[in-house]
Symmetry: C7
Subunit: 225 residues, 7 copies
């Protein structure tokens, strides 16, 4: 501190405007974007589940998921081609994951800017804010790491294809490749349900505690700027 | 919070409908799906155990599990073929694991959406909800990682077969391959018992505490939406 | 919870029958299987110890354990053969380990199903149940990882044999192989004592606390179904 | 301590001047630099988001982000060229990250030098200082590690290009390269929002608690030199 | 628990006999085996120390430990031979380590079987039992991992000899080999002292607290069976 | 303790003299060395910052930092030459880091020797001593690991140059090398500020608490020897 | 415990004699060995520091430490020769480290054997004993791991020399080798100071608390045997 007097630093108008902008986006997300997303993914989870069942009972022509046996009998030129269905589904899910991260990072941004001055008590509301920021940050980290899913899928596929080409007589490499592709379909079958579930659980946490997020210390509102 | 007034955000009807849908599925799972699964896996554990005993006493013709010695004497072309029994049993267990994950993630979803607003006390019911969500999440993680079992089995088998082909005179690689296959049979012999046991233990935890899961704070039901 | 009334979910008869079946097996294990195992392994530990001593004093013809020097002088064709005694002993111990895991996982299963509803106090009995479940789970994990022992033994042996064949003049690889085999014999010499000791210690813990395992909350038995 | 008398050591004038210099820079950053940065990155986040949307609807000629398919069809000489847009955007972000680190390390330096003598109580203000130093240090560590982003991007790109050149028929390597580049664009799309958000959250924390940072122990100012 | 009555399970006579057998061995170890071992290793530590000093002053003809320089000048055929002294000393120490493990695992076994029923208080004696079991387990783990010492010594020696043969002009590999052998001699010089010290410290802990190990809960002896 | 009487052991005069010598060096460092260093590095940070700005605006002839593009166009013989400026700056910083470690390890040595006898209370002063020893030890560890910086820089540079020579057509390796060199200049730009900041923060901590470091327990000075 | 009576086990006379022997060595170390070592290393630190300064100002003929440039210009046959000064200094330090470990492990041994029976209170003295045993164990671990220093130095040197021979045109490998050697000289320059400092700090801790180490529970000496 300067030797003679202490300096008064106030929240800059531009920053308050930035916070207000995040607040409006937050309200829009809670009233419109998120409920719509939950309904959308609930439907997609149902229809995706239905498709897999039809496929297992042979009702659909276009088989997305091959059986392990197919991988052993398939000529090598087909084997090393990338499965179009897997690639397209990856792109769809990446868009969905980016949307989720963008939506909740706005809400996290607003809550962080709404944390009042550190005080030696009366912190229940601040604990709620910090608890919810932690939950949202965890959610964003899960979906950020899921974004790397396709890179690691292609890397494993490429290295197995390399081994298949090098050791044409070792059947187990082909089965291993079958498992790598099958795992993607298994993950897809959970992904829509998980998206609906994660949106809903985090939405429910925020909505039920919105009053505390807005006014962490009810008595003296002034300290929140 | 907007400078002048605070916004009221209510749980969206679509989300409440989503929660109701999860609730009905949860009740169905507790009354029908899970008890049926426990009985099914209890039987499979008994019959699987019986088969292994008959096989050891040479009563069954079709030997699923070869002895180590077989692996040393077997011609290389047979050695490098994948064991059909192991592959089929993998596929059966993967289906069972996916079913378990789907069943309990629905229940976890409902419980999460039933967690009331964060309050500074009267949280015994919420602690029960969070404790059971943690147990279910752990169960789902165990079975999600078990889904990778077949990929790592084929990868180890392939790399050992490669070494056997390259070092035909090193007996120990063949014994190592025998252990890799034998370990799968040992795992299968535990898997049905573990499935019955895990379904039953988690079911017992949920059923005995269902009242608290439904109504974590008895006095004022309104705060659960 | 459904908006109008709360649902009563009771423990399904099939699950209670499953629990009863585990209970009867538990009593049988405590009264018959385990005491018999402890005596059996106590004897095997003594006789195994006796054999090693006779062998060191050269009394027995068939030397199971070779000295390091033998490994340096031995022709390479013999060196790369797997030691029959080690393989047979592995198979014996694997059977013993599987039996131990099966025996205690049944007891663990029964105790888990006997954990009463979560309550905010009067939990001393439940703590005893959870403490003993933790001890049994640790024991099962130790013996499950010991099951992998033979696979890693053969993998180390194979890779050393490969180096010996490649670098015939490097004596130290042959000594290293001698150590790998010798370590198996050292482990065997402890294994029977450890089996007796682990069975006895876990048995003693369960038997001394059996009343609490059966009736964790003495006053009101109804809550255990 | 010297056997006879204790030595009085006072804060050197040069060090007090150094602290005063950091203090003035801190005030300038809080009043000018940081609010300007928040507004700047808020704008960049909006305009960057807008560009990506236009690009996806094909409105802009210069496509920064290629689709996976482009990577499979592209001739190898183009494939192995580094994407100019990615490189330029890296350089821009590195400048922004260095600025952020320089800005907040000055503020951290001032706060550290303003921590008073260790006392056995009356430490609420010191806890606020230490808490904020921890937050700033975390922020600096995040952006220091982000500085390594471009080195690891080029290393992954180089090693994938090497594999593509070596295994021209393995399509999956090309898709893997597409993911590596696409990931950079996804990171860029978050980076401006994160910069605005991190500046604002840390700024809000410092400004709201500036009084405590300046005068951690209100009663006796003398102990802060 | 069976729906109608609770079962009484008592400690099986065979198990009590097993415990009694461990008890007698424990008393013998404390009165005879261990004091003798401490004296023996105290002597060996002194005489080993004396030999090293004589060797450094050149008094002994047979130099066990070569200087680094010897390794550079030595012809390659001698260099790649394993140092007889190191091998023989390894075998001696392995015998000593196995003895230590066998001795204390018997004592640990007895103490474990003497742990009374879990009670909600009056546990000071039980804490002493568990503390001493932890100390003995740590000691067994240290000496079990030391048993692997010779395997890793030969593995490092073999891989360095391989490099020396491949890069005859790189002096530093020969110095590295000198360090690997020298390190064994340094370890040997500590090993006898450590054996005496570990035996004595653990013995002192057990003897001083023997009353508590025998009778953890003085008042009612019946609960220990 | 010897069976009959207890031995009195006093601090040896040579050790007290050693402590006095450390004390005098400590006072000299706090009054002279450190303030001078803080001022010196504050200046160097400013001038280093100024140079980089001039360079970016092209005012200086001798460009220390090349742009990524230079690395792609540069002939390979120049590319594989080590950047003189980076090497010289490394040597300068290593000297500065060694000085910092020597300066503060003397102060840490004195404080450690001034820790009084362990007592069951009245330990506030001792806690201050131990807290400051921990801070200084952390500082020394940071700068000891920074000393390894140049070894790892040359190792990364060498391995990238090797790849560039092997894969002349893979541009990304050249960009990767550009990043490795650029990272050193970025680190240099922070290093002088960090040196000033770390000296100042640790100095301020020691000076403000010097009375407690000298006399941790005011009442009875005798126990500090 | 045997079913009828409890056994009295007393500390064996040989063990008490062993403890007395450690006690006498401890007193000798505290009165003679350690103070002498502190003075010796204090001197060596000063003279080593003096030599480095003279060398930097070119006063001494025999340059122990070469500059990085020397490594680039030096013919390869000289480069691959091991630096005699580094090797001799390693041997000197190894002797010093072994002495330190032997000295303090004797003291640790005595303290451990002087720990009284575990009691439910009155444990301040025992806490002091355990705290000091922990400090001495940490010191022994630091110097045991430093003993491996020369092995890892020669391993790094050998692998860099291999790379220099393989890639004669990559200058950076020669600079990397210069850093590896320079790091040893930097470590040497700290080692004597650290030896003096570690001896002194541990000595000061033991001497100031010697009364508690000897008589942890003043009231009743009998329980210490």
């Amino acid at each position: 501190m300067s030797k003679n007097n202490s300096t008064v630093i106030k929240m800059d108008e531009q920053v308050l405007k930035y916070k207000e902008d995040l607040y409006e986006k937050t309200v829009h997300h809670l009233k419109v974007t998120i409920p719509k997303k939950i309904a959308e993914y609930q439907e997609l989870a149902k229809s995706y589940g239905q498709n897999s069942e039809n496929e297992q009972d042979g009702q659909t022509s276009k088989k997305r998921k091959l059986d392990s046996e197919d991988y052993v009998l398939m000529p090598i030129e087909d084997l090393i081609k990338t499965n179009r269905v897997i690639m397209e589904t990856h792109q769809k899910f990446k868009k969905a994951y980016i949307e989720l991260i963008e939506t909740f990072s706005v809400i996290r941004g607003w809550i962080s800017l709404n944390i009042p001055r550190i005080e030696d008590g009366n912190n229940f509301g601040v604990d709620v804010q910090e608890d919810i920021i932690t939950q949202i940050t965890k959610l964003e980290e899960v979906y950020t790491s899921l974004l790397d899913g396709s890179e690691s899928y292609f890397a494993s596929r490429a290295s197995l294809v390399k081994k298949i080409l090098k050791h044409k007589d070792i059947e187990a490499y082909r089965y291993s490749l079958a498992q790598v592709d099958e795992k993607e379909f298994t993950r897809f079958s959970f992904s829509y349900f998980d998206l609906a579930n994660n949106y809903a659980t985090t939405y429910s946490l925020i909505v039920k505690n919105f009053a505390k997020l807005e006014t962490p210390r009810p008595t003296n509102a002034s300290n929140i700027y």
